[in-house]
């Protein structure tokens, strides 16, 4: 069943802040072949953004099957890079809902903030494949 457009524009704010540890940044840098440093690489924000999108999509009220998701598009706008020592809060908004041929296509926007400061805004387009016919 297609996801109700009632969810359009709804925002979910995670209560818990995520401290950016030196271990997390180094592991990510290492995984993509970068030398160690205190500044996170551009796609590091996905670590939090996608986890938060997953928890919103899987929440009982939306009830989407994360096992059927395909990541279609990803976009970031940076105010400044994420650094070791930031404590990131994530606010996830459902920016668009479409249903095409039994698949739900949902765009989530994730604002990562450190205190009152917006650091990275990102958008993910997620395709939820409908049940096999």
């Amino acid at each position: 069943m297609a996801l109700s457009t009632d969810f359009l524009g709804r925002t979910y704010r995670a209560d818990v802040g995520h401290p950016v540890s030196v271990q997390d940044v180094h592991a990510f840098l290492h995984a993509i072949g970068e030398p160690e440093g205190e500044i996170a690489p551009p796609t590091f924000a996905i670590k939090l953004a996608l986890a938060e999108s997953e928890s919103v999509m899987k929440s009982p009220e939306l009830g989407l099957d994360w096992n059927r998701v395909v990541h279609g598009d990803q976009r970031f706008e940076y105010r400044r890079p994420i650094r070791v020592g930031d404590v990131l809060h994530c606010e996830t908004t459902i920016d668009s809902i479409k249903s095409v041929a039994g698949n739900d296509i949902i765009t989530t926007r994730c604002d990562l903030t450190n205190g009152a400061e917006l650091i990275v805004r990102s958008w993910a387009v997620l395709f939820f494949r409908g049940p096999e016919k």
């Binding site: 997390d24 592991a27 990510f28 290492h30 995984a31 993509i32 072949g33 970068e34 440093g37 500044i39 690489p41 551009p42 796609t43 996905i46 670590k47 996608l50 986890a51 395909v70 990541h71 279609g72 598009d73 990803q74 976009r75 970031f76 706008e77 940076y78 400044r80 890079p81 958008w123």
Partner: protein, 141 residues
């Protein structure tokens, strides 16, 4: 950190082509670093059981390498103002030989504040794996 000089760039300036190898060990390391433990990126039998041709790389890992391609070119990991891609086809990572992703790119627009827009292409095994891959990059004067 010193960045590429904006004054030396024009529309059509080329980012020198560069290829990256991706092994299954790389995907395990990326899964642990990113938290994305989806078995389609680590378990060949599982990937095939859900209809994929073989084990595939995380799209976000390919995007991370695309980011490195651009930030190495400009000379600073923190030089991006915007960055977006479409995941058009998966990068297939066989068991014993690394997958190879070839990146090429061009400056498509000169912007104010020493910034440029770049558009990049990513090919693996003859297939275009990213679409609409663009970034706004902040340079030095």
């Amino acid at each position: 950190m010193s960045r590429l000089s904006w004054a030396t760039l024009s529309v059509g300036s080329v980012l020198p082509a560069r290829s990256f190898e991706i092994t299954r060990e790389d995907l395990k390391r990326y899964a642990d670093a990113s938290g994305d433990q989806n078995p389609i990126h680590q378990d060949e039998a599982f990937a095939i059981s859900v209809g994929l041709p073989n084990l595939i790389a995380h799209g976000m890992y390919t995007m991370a390498l695309a980011g490195k391609f651009i930030t190495d070119w400009v000379g600073d990991l923190s030089a991006l103002a915007e960055f977006g891609v479409r995941f058009t086809k998966p990068v297939i990572v066989p068991a014993n030989t690394p997958a190879v992703v070839l990146f090429t790119g061009t400056v498509t627009e000169l912007l104010p504040n020493n910034s440029v827009k770049v558009e990049i292409q990513a090919m693996s095994d003859g297939v275009k794996v990213l679409g609409q891959a663009r970034a706004v990059v902040c340079c030095d004067e």
